[in-house]
Symmetry: C2
Subunit: 67 residues, 2 copies
DNA sequence: TTCTAGTGTAATATATACATTACATCAGTG
DNA sequence: CACTGATGTAATGTATATATTACACTAGAA
């Protein structure tokens, strides 16, 4: 589950803790999502989008794997 | 968690069962997501996007609620 | 050097996404 | 009418997203 949360968060001038508070989760959850170790829920993805001012596609889109 | 999965699925000419099989979940899960009763994971959102040929923003974007 | 802010991550607990099984309704169609 | 495909949904079980607590490391500032 790779994504662009970390770069978008830094662009927005936020720390992990600030993003966590803005989105209503813990810092650990943000850290794990940035590291690609969590498969976040849609609700949290949207909250992160709102907090950093980006769209779902900008932060979370991944091209389909062609077998 | 309202979304546009149902209309996109119908546009794509798929039944709930076919979409479920294409995305690797059960028909019940698709039904509940279409009804807005589930908060799906990013991985499943992406699988649905691939199956119906739409983007995350097209299917799942919701404008931020301004308090 | 010491202190602090920012970050990574482990262990355990809790909430919830999703599966499984089952039964129901409705619209066509024979 | 009976039959089938498509859908809604309830009850219960399992997997995992997220919380909680805690400890570690690094970079920069005092």
């Amino acid at each position: 589950m790779m994504n662009h949360v970390k770069s978008a968060r830094i662009e927005a001038g936020l720390t992990q803790l600030q993003l966590a508070e803005n989105t209503g989760v813990t810092r650990q959850t943000i850290s794990l999502i940035e590291k690609g170790k969590y498969n976040p829920t849609l609700k949290l993805c949207l909250a992160i989008c709102y907090a950093v001012g980006k769209s779902l596609d900008e932060l979370f889109w991944i091209e389909e794997e062609k077998s």
